[in-house]
Amino acid sequence: MINWPNFVSQLFNGLALGALLALISSGLTIIYGTLGVLNLAHGAMFMIGGYAGYVAYTYTGSFIIAVIAGSLFVMVLGVVMERVIIRHFYQRPHEDQLLVTFGLGICFVEIVRLIFTSQSQVVPPPAALQGITSLGFLFYPTYRLAVVGIVAVALGALFLVLYRTRLGMIVRAGIEDSVMVDSLGINVYRVFMIVFGIGAMAAGFAGIINAPVVSLTPGVGDDILVETFVVVVIGGVGSFPGAILGGLIAGEIISITSMFNPGYAYVMLFAAMTLVLVLRPHGLLGTQGRE
């Protein structure tokens, strides 16, 4: 009953989706871990990355410029958002932070809808990555293979920033105890701004990389946001390795379930999340005591 080439190609799809989810979730989780703010506009950041890249692509025709423009635009947007609004919410309860980022997310989606309408837009993959590649036993779209590689490189870069630089050390220390970092004489608010920018950029980058795979609509970030939440709950809030592990698990669950019946993809995802919550309430790689 199982068609093996189909199964393997779904495994690859799961890997590509999982890698993307891992990247987006890393952005969400480092922002939450450092700033203590859950950014409900994160899905909108993903969507805006796609649209910013789309605009750059229509003007230049270069996919690489589109990727750079998409990521940078969202990073700047993230920094502005943090400076103008989010920083006023650090001292306010979690609920207010959720409400304001939720509202901002809606505003972003509606602004994009106003400019680009609800019609879907297409960004083609770069010429070199078009077509299909033979893996010997099956043919697979070249760009999707490339997505796995590109995202792996991006995650590697994020890893280097987080684990091999001074800033990364401060960020990781801030995830553990931001009050302590503050009292060590480090300006945590400047770090917060940078982290928000990097986290948003991760989503924006994923948004433009994903654009050739799934066509762009203003609502493209909504489902992604929900999937990211599941990833973060499975992996553990504030944990970068947890986001990667959770992303890959979620991607494979969605792809493999979809092979049998797409209607059950979310049910299975939810079942996995419930299982993790029951067995390891703090997530697979999360630490206890952080809410």
Binding site: I85, H94, C107, F229, V230, F270
Partner: protein, 619 residues
């Protein structure tokens, strides 16, 4: 607020609902819009109990709205069930049952985790409705043909059809919903909901099973959502599948925040603003799809600048306008307090000592607490090491020790806030090792905290009520419809505690307006109001001025009558004056134990303080 007139809010709601069909058309409201507002308002009543009162922000209410709606609609259209109202009630029960099961999972975590899990759950419901259950729910087509209610009264048949006719039915449902919601928020359970919102840690510590209460709030919200979902089908003669979308949950959250959380009427006002703005922006201004952007911006601005929404803003404005009237008694109260501070003995003696609760099986003599071999390790750090500690009934024990001696850790273990690495704790002959802090408090052992843990959004009296409720009602009881004033002994116990901690002059002051010394006394009052037989006090004198210390020492003496107490403090003069015996902790061990006289003259104690940390003795 408005407490002296018991049915004022109910009466005003009824008048408003009766007047609406005559007034609202003049303002340009179509009957269908008003009906939709009522359904959203009813949906929001439950959500406000969950979010505004209990502090749990769920983004997944669409799951219950859709469940209730589709169960009712399925019964009425597919199953040929003839009774509309009964179908609505069955839908509500189905939603509540779903809420119970989902709550068991979602409430395993709090804060943002809870919000994320509810989002994910709601999304699953949406997919389940569309795919596995599409034979029952009609998938993306929904269920058309939901009938409107009619009631055969024998001599005549009441039939509610559309427009203002259906309004009568919806208004009655909303009114009943408001009456029930008001009873709930005025019940002891409602008081505990607010306590959970303000300080879940302390609500647990004063002996309430907050997990049970959170689940109750979640189920209540689900029940309201389910009933409102059923009404949506009745209203539209069609059960739309988009009841299950994330947008539904989002709109509910936004309407509640716009109208004002924690006000019950906020969601109704928010829905009115939302729907009328939508009509206005779309139809009158011709903005087309941009209406949602405008509403989004309005929402963000309100969250930024008007935290309590429109209704909350109006209440604050009303308070500001009538402020002068309210201010006057406040000031006299403050003066009163100043007078009290200067001539305290009269007031102090007026308050009779509050007896500890008599519990079955309590032996009035001999040891009340026995700790054996108590050890606590945090990784490599040993905070407490092999502590043996016994306190007898009626004793007043002092504990001193340099900073870092492990005093607070020791207290946390005794009250079961943290569990020992090894060793055992016996309280009144019962092994309490490994129990949780709520159960231990229910047994009669609680503590006041070194750093104030108050319910900051509530008044002094409300704070004490929450603590006293745990003593009078146990750790969990669902007396949702009982008035809080009808609990025997509650007002006496609260009044008594107020007098004991010398706050009787300002019971209705919000905690945020209290002076530091008053907060400290309330902190002790919270522990005291649970009528513990063993009361632990962690640095009750910390941060107080010398005069406040004298006051507080008097207070401690008066509450120690008929009760066992253990006090940690750095103020040795005070402690030597109060305590019959003193235990000295150093580096996680018991250094020495004896009468104050023995401790003062003990050379190892002098060594520990003078040789170890200079200046501690003077502090």
């Amino acid at each position: 607020m408005l407490k002296q007139r018991p049915f004022l809010i109910e009466t005003l709601t009824a008048i408003g609902l009766i007047a609406a069909p005559f007034v609202l058309p003049l303002l340009g409201f179509a009957p269908n819009t008003v009906n939709r507002i009522l359904v959203w308002g009813l949906f929001g009543l439950g959500f406000d109990i969950l979010f505004g009162f209990t502090g749990l922000l769920s983004f997944g209410q669409s799951a219950f709205y859709g469940t209730g709606g589709f169960v009712a609609a399925y019964l009425l259209t597919q199953a040929g069930f003839p009774y509309v109202l009964l179908a609505l009630v069955i839908g509500m029960i189905a939603a509540a049952a779903t809420g119970y099961l989902i709550g068991l999972i979602a409430l395993r975590r709090t804060g943002i985790y809870f919000a994320m899990i509810t989002v994910a759950i709601a999304e699953v419901f949406f997919f389940v409705e569309f795919n596995p259950l599409s034979d029952y729910t009609g998938g993306e087509n929904g269920l058309p043909g939901v009938p409107t209610p009619s009631f055969n009264l024998g001599f005549t048949t009441l039939h509610f059809t559309t427009g203002w006719s259906l309004y009568q039915f919806l208004a009655l449902c909303y009114f009943i919903g408001v009456v029930i919601a008001l009873r709930i928020v005025r019940s002891p359970v409602g008081a505990i909901f607010s306590a959970i919102r303000d300080n879940p840690l302390r609500a647990t510590a004063v002996g309430h099973n907050i997990h049970g209460y959170k689940l109750a709030a979640f189920v209540i919200a689900a029940a309201y959502a389910g009933f409102a979902g059923g009404l949506l089908g009745v209203l539209q003669a069609f059960m739309p599948p988009d009841a299950f979308t994330f947008d539904t949950s989002g709109q509910l959250v936004m309407q509640t925040a716009i109208g004002g959380r924690g006000t019950l009427f906020g969601p109704l006002v928010g829905a009115a603003v939302w729907l009328s703005l939508q009509d206005f922006l779309q139809a009158t201004l011709g903005l087309g799809a941009a209406w949602k952007l405008v509403l989004g911006i309005v929402f963000v601005l309100l969250v930024c600048f008007l935290r309590r929404g429109i209704v909350g803003g109006l209440v604050d404005l009303y308070g500001l306008l009538t402020g002068q009237r309210r201010k006057a008694p406040d000031e006299s109260a403050a003066q009163d307090d100043a007078v009290a501070a200067e001539a305290p003995p009269a007031r102090q003696t007026a308050a009779a000592p509050m007896p500890a609760r008599q519990r079955a099986g309590a032996d009035p003599s001999g040891p009340i607490l026995q700790a054996k071999g108590l050890t606590k390790r945090y990784g490599g750090l040993v905070a407490n090491s092999n502590i043996d500690f016994t306190v007898n009934h009626g004793e007043l024990r002092g504990i001193i020790g340099p900073n870092g001696a492990g005093k607070s850790t020791f207290f946390k273990m005794l009250t079961c806030e943290v569990h020992p690495t090894s060793g055992s704790i016996m309280f009144e002959g019962r092994d309490i090792t490994g129990m949780n802090v709520t159960d231990v408090c229910q047994l009669g052992l609680t503590k006041s905290y070194q750093v104030n843990q108050l319910f900051a959004g509530l008044t002094v009296r409300e704070n004490l009520v929450i603590a006293a409720l745990s003593a009078l009602r146990g750790k969990f009881k669902l007396d949702l419809f009982r008035s809080i004033d009808s609990i025997p002994g509650l007002s006496e116990q609260v009044q008594h505690t107020l007098e004991l901690v010398n706050l009787a002059a300002r019971p209705d002051t919000p905690v945020s307006e209290l002076a530091y010394g008053e907060k400290r006394r309330l902190e002790i009052g919270l522990a005291l109001a649970t009528s513990p037989s063993l009361l632990l006090l962690d640095e009750p004198l910390a941060g107080m001025s010398p005069r406040e210390r004298v006051e507080t020492v008097k207070l401690l003496k008066s509450i120690s009558q008929g009760r066992t107490m253990i006090i940690i403090d750095h103020d040795m003069d005070a402690l030597f004056e109060l305590a019959e015996r003193v235990t000295v902790l150093q580096e996680g061990r018991v250094l020495v134990e004896g009468t104050p006289e023995e401790i003062k003259n003990n050379s190892t104690v002098q060594e520990a303080y003078l040789g170890g940390v200079h200046g501690e003795l003077a502090a």
